[in-house]
Structure formats: structure tokens, C-alpha cells
Amino acid sequence: MKPLQLTLIEAVLIALLGLLAGLVVNHRLVLDAFAGRLAASGPVAATASAILPQPVLLAEVRDLAAAGALPVDARDGALYADGHLPAAVSLPLAEADALMERFRQQVAAERTLILYCNGYGCPDSFDLGLRLISEGYRDVRVFEGGFPEWRDAGLPVVKGNQ
């Protein structure tokens, strides 16, 4: 076998070993990502016994929104004004204390809520979900892909304040 071929095979083996190590260390995260369980797989979910926000994927978000669920934008107001899901209301996590009373007056506790923020690695929607559950909301979903996945899928985006 030629030296280049041997070196290439060894390079592929190193890559495979790295891939394997990554999958071993992060297998749960990857499995949860493919199963759409990410929002409920964090340390909060592992220890909490109360109702938790349920993760939803993009296709489910579209179906739920069409069926009357309310998208709730957990990002700050400027990002909301820059672009948000159609019919979404703004409820930034940082302003939840100040805005919760008005939100409760406007949105019935039975309403299905779809919370989102900046997608991957953004915990605000999940944290806001916990807060809304503690306020009495019982059907709280978290769209983990968030605004970036919605926008990147070419779905309609609305600009401006509510």
C-alpha cells in the first residue's frame, strides 16, 4: 500500500476515534436532539417532578399555531420587533415579573402556549415555561429551534411591536 493511502487511512481512523469519543460523552444530548426531547432533558427536568414545559419540533409548532396555540417570544423586545413568529406575543424572561399580570389577564390558563427564544443553547424559553407553569398555565410547550429555525425554514416572519 502506498504511503499516502496509509496516512489517509490513519487520518480516517483518528477522525472515527474522535467521533466515537464525542458520541460516547454526548450520547444523551445527541439522542435527545434526534428524538426532539431536548428541552426536557436538562438538569432541571431530571430533578423536577412538577409539570414541565414540553418540547415541540418545527412541524408541530406549525400545527399547534394553526390550531390556536399562542406563540410566546421570550427574547427581549428589540429582537421581537426585529422579527417574530406570526401572532406571537412578547414576554421577555427578564421582564416577566413586570409583564406577568397583564399577560394573565389577556391569556387564559387553558390556552396552549408555544415558547421560543434564540434556539439552540438559549434557556430563556424553558425558564419562562417553568415560570408560566407556576402561574397556572398547564399546556406549555417549548420550541427548542426557536426563532432561528423558524426563520431559516422560510416561514413567515412578522416585524414590529405588538
Partner: protein, 144 residues
């Protein structure tokens, strides 16, 4: 001449290994955040961003470590050479599509634009080529 060549080889090897070892370690520490940065490239379906974020740092970490300890450094350099070529192609596609994103090359909050990252990857590619090319030229063949 041979001595200076050996010094150059080891310097390139250590620098390349340190850069990729560091880049891999930083990203491996916060996989969900790195997944977000992979997603910003808008190239992969949702869950695959996590698969890449979970594995790529370990490939970089392993290749970087092998270079640092000078074990299998030639295939490790070849792997990083191929990876860098892929990174450059991906960054070029980002620029062609007009996306304004953080490259995510060294984990969250690194704040590098695609153009800066492209320049840096070109340098790292040259470094990987240098290690690969210098390996047989300046190192004694293994005794068997």
C-alpha cells in the same frame, strides 16, 4: 539545514496541535452553545447540528493532542488539513450567502467574523500542509 528543518517542523506541529487542541477543548465544554453556532451556518437539519457539535470538538481535540505529543502526527496533520479545507469551503458559503454570523471556531463569545475566520483557516491550512510535508523530509524514518 536539516537541523533548522527539524526545528521548523516541531514548531509548526506544536502550534497546530495547540490551536486545535484548544479549539476542541473550548467547544467540548459547551456543546449546546456550539450547536447553536453550527446551526447559524444554516447547512444542516435541526438535530444534525447537535451531532456535529457533539463530535467535531473531540476530533479536533484528538488530532491536536496527537500533534502535541508527536504520535501519528502525519495522519493527524492530514486530518486537520482536510478539516480546514472543509471549514474554508463552509465559511466561503457563509460569505456567499451574505450571512453575518460568529464563526464559532473557538467556542461561544469568540466574536470572529467569517472573513477573519477564513483568513485564520488559510493560515492553519498552510501550517497543516507544512507539518505534513516536513514530516518525512526532516524526520528520520522509523526503525523497524
Amino acid at each position: 539545514m536539516k537541523h533548522s528543518g527539524q526545528v521548523s517542523y516541531h514548531l509548526c506541529r506544536l502550534l497546530l496541535g495547540a490551536v486545535f487542541g484548544w479549539a476542541g477543548a473550548v467547544k467540548a465544554l459547551d456543546v449546546p452553545a456550539f450547536a447553536g453556532q453550527v446551526a447559524a451556518y444554516q447547512l444542516l437539519p435541526y438535530a444534525w447540528n447537535y451531532a456535529v457539535a457533539a463530535t467535531l470538538p473531540y476530533v479536533e481535540l484528538l488530532a491536536g493532542t496527537l500533534l502535541l505529543v508527536n504520535i501519528r502526527s502525519k495522519p493527524a496533520a492530514l486530518l486537520l488539513l482536510l478539516l480546514n479545507t472543509l471549514f474554508i469551503a463552509v465559511l466561503a458559503s457563509v460569505m456567499a450567502r451574505g450571512l453575518s454570523i460568529d464563526c464559532g471556531c473557538f467556542g461561544p463569545d469568540a466574536g470572529t467574523t467569517p472573513l477573519q475566520a477564513l483568513g485564520r483557516d488559510a493560515l492553519l491550512l498552510a501550517l497543516a500542509v507544512a507539518v505534513y510535508w516536513q514530516h518525512d523530509r526532516y524526520l528520520p524514518p522509523p526503525t523497524t
